[in-house]
Symmetry: C2
Subunit: 562 residues, 2 copies
Amino acid sequence: MTEPHRDLAAPPPLPEGGLRIIPLGGLGAIGRNMTVFEYDGRLLVVDCGVLFPDVDQPGVDLILPDFAPILDRLDDVQAIVLTHGHEDHIGAVPYLLAHKPDIPLVGSQFTLALVEAKLAERRMQPYTLTVTEGQREQLGPFGCEFFAVNHSIPDAMAVAIRTPAGLVLHTGDFKMDQVPLDGRLTDLAGFARLGAEGVDLLLSDSTNAEVPGFVTPEREIGPVLDSIFAKATGRIIVASFASHVHRVQQVFDAAAAHGRKVALIGRSMVRNMGIARDLGRLTIPPGLVVGIDEVKNLPPERVVLMSTGSQGEPMSALGRMANGDHRHVTLEPHDTVVLASSLVPGNETAVYRVINLLSRGGATVIHKDVARVHVSGHAPAGELRYLLNIVRPSNLMPVHGEWRHLRAHGRLGVETGIDPDSVVLCEDGDVVDLVDGHARQVGHVRSRYVYVDGLAVGDVSESLLTERKILGDGGFIATTVVIDSVNGKVVGGPTISAKGFSEDPAAFDPVLPLITEALDRAAADGVTDPHQLQQVVRRLVGRWVNEKYRRRPMIVPTVLEV
Amino acid sequence: MTEPHRDLAAPPPLPEGGLRIIPLGGLGAIGRNMTVFEYDGRLLVVDCGVLFPDVDQPGVDLILPDFAPILDRLDDVQAIVLTHGHEDHIGAVPYLLAHKPDIPLVGSQFTLALVEAKLAERRMQPYTLTVTEGQREQLGPFGCEFFAVNHSIPDAMAVAIRTPAGLVLHTGDFKMDQVPLDGRLTDLAGFARLGAEGVDLLLSDSTNAEVPGFVTPEREIGPVLDSIFAKATGRIIVASFASHVHRVQQVFDAAAAHGRKVALIGRSMVRNMGIARDLGRLTIPPGLVVGIDEVKNLPPERVVLMSTGSQGEPMSALGRMANGDHRHVTLEPHDTVVLASSLVPGNETAVYRVINLLSRGGATVIHKDVARVHVSGHAPAGELRYLLNIVRPSNLMPVHGEWRHLRAHGRLGVETGIDPDSVVLCEDGDVVDLVDGHARQVGHVRSRYVYVDGLAVGDVSESLLTERKILGDGGFIATTVVIDSVNGKVVGGPTISAKGFSEDPAAFDPVLPLITEALDRAAADGVTDPHQLQQVVRRLVGRWVNEKYRRRPMIVPTVLEV
């Protein structure tokens, strides 16, 4: 496998007839998927998603791909192809369109409906081109052909991109459930045809490359739900992703079979299921779905609440129910709560907190550790081998994964016969050129995490996050001293204001005289510059607190002259 | 099931002939296990462990049980019985003995050796009584009988406690591997004898009560390790808990079978395996274990490093290797790293970070999601049912679990025939009396989380942690103003010092004049009290930052008079 060259700078010009591939996100972390293809001066973007922050990004709302490498070339962007409607594939579209609103969006009906709903909230109306599987569209120099893939959202597609440089297949997210609920199989036959034509480069979903075997069919969840519904004596509350139409369909079917009505709870659940129903992706038996007000008049054993909040989000519908502050729903001891969803890494603490709150309240909580109420949406190793063997690509670029996934996928590629030198392991920002049928890394462009925090985009830097971590771990001790600007003598303070450090109001009594002493000594030595005096205070207080407490709060000294 | 009464205060006096049970830790979170038994004015403590903090306790090193309810009764404490040597059962012993060093510790040979090593680091030497399975000891009014149980550490024991109030069985942590590596089975026959005698109250391990089925035998990991060792071409680095002697034994056996030498890395791994070897709990083939310096001279395919760091701890041996700053070991692309361990909830982000760092460096990383290199140490539902059916307790108190586990365990109790009213669900600090064969909650005593942060024990409160969370999420904006104490006029500042908020040095330029204005207005209104002026500044800056940034940093106003 070819490892990323970590010392490469800006790439050389793209050789004529070559195709350039720049992953701006999705490699090294699962999220903010975005890949830029360049041919003959034109760009094609595939996906434009967000990454959700973890504990290392405190206070951050979202993480975007770094658009910097293409910001001055937005006029060259032919289109943004969206493989499917998950946030990690479409969530950053509004932020990119904010720079240039008329870049066309290309995707399936359901995908575009979701992204349009998202844009509508910001009063943006995109140019769109709806495509379906089997369709071919020439987007500038990029000959695109779309293929059905099976995933945890309807209408997901892979895209093949033809240029004179060669044939590239980007799978998007996929798995190969052989009995999918909607009958829409991953188009392995189509991929076989591409394989016969000769695929020069395969970019493929690595999420489950470490996981042995094959995915359990989505429809096997149905009987599990059925037996849960059969046993439940009170209300049933099911939480899942608001875009997982097939999962919701199975909840609807189970509810109908057991004579229960369903109310949808959570803004995105209501919105997305409305879209799915309107587009015929969700079948709702007449009278099954009722409003949240109506269920209050039904006996508990006739009620299902279909809710958001499967990832433990405290502000979601389920999070609020668990905390006892949901406007419409108060938990009852005989409630059965089903978390019919994955547990996204990083969310464990939040999810188990919600489960424990629900359990403490008396509810029976069923989650994926306890019963098969979830199957993954991504192809595990066994299925990836099928894909690799049928596509037989000359070059493989594992995408959509953390390093452990990318490397595992790379090994599967080698295992199935790809020349190890043609398995190109990359990180975000690495520039890969496909020239004469060979893909290799030729450079690197900037690809920082761009943080959204409140209204600010890109304002929060890594060093700010480090400051937050120091503050979050140890609090701070702020000292203020006023000195006479003429003779440097202390005329006010020192005072100390500390947060996150100690409740003891007398905690700092011992250090205050030491500060005055140190400043007097500094003044005697002729040090009068406030910045230097601040350093004196910082050192003194830092040493004192370390010796006395063995802690490292942030020391924030202010020396003011009057 | 009887739910905890959340409104109960201090319990009434214990009726004569009754046994009181006060769980001071271990209920509602997995960790800081500690149960106090009281009979006839005497106390018996079972276990005294720590809880490790999660993201909700930033900067905290450890969490202790709240000793307050027994602090003024330490003279009444007959002994501390330690069921086994895991940190969540012995880690708080030094903190309790700090209050009274001569409370005797009772436990098995290996358990006491671990706790003595821990105390020796603090120059403490405890009074100890070594017991073995089958042994009976009268500890004041408490007739204790010890039983072998199978767990993920050698020498774990359950304890039966006889008083005139009845017979109580506390299982400690256990599972029921029927082919344990050391042949030491959980003493189901002994429990059957207790059952025949009549167990009035069972306190039992709830950790895996949600998990269906039975545990996989520890020895099935051997062949998995064997196949990993057979495939590895370079060094093999195995990380596991430093107390998991049987896991380490299997690594030693695999190493010997494949002609590799083993070096132990990590202080606790070296110490504990020394203890295990000295006590005959670990069998080391002659010449197998070598020093870390020696392995440097061996070809990689002859080396195994047995390391700490399986939970992603950045300062552990494996954490340092992953970060590239271990003193002795530099990772190589052909290394195989095996995380032969559980993934303790809350540690996922840290563990996957280490796995990704290792993968990025080129190592093949094998962990429990990928191969069966770990089995749990706790009995799942299937085994708990066996225990319940053989013990047939009159009353059940599920212990050692989060709420989801306690409730699931309670349901298993009811399922196996225990009267639902006799399944006593409790939280830490709930006081349960066993009187006339009935266990019921009679009160509640204080049971806060006691935080260790640096040298301070109990100094950090929940409200300090809330401050840390606010600071960690949004940083702070500190404003300083100096006013004339006579006329309230601003004579210095305002200045702003912000951390974790913005890198832009001009970010606060717009708000500074607003502060001056507001203070002038306040002075004109006759407001001169610095505290009131601070409120004026806090409100102003808070509103400004919310409107401009939609963020909520902590606002820290200081108004100094000169």
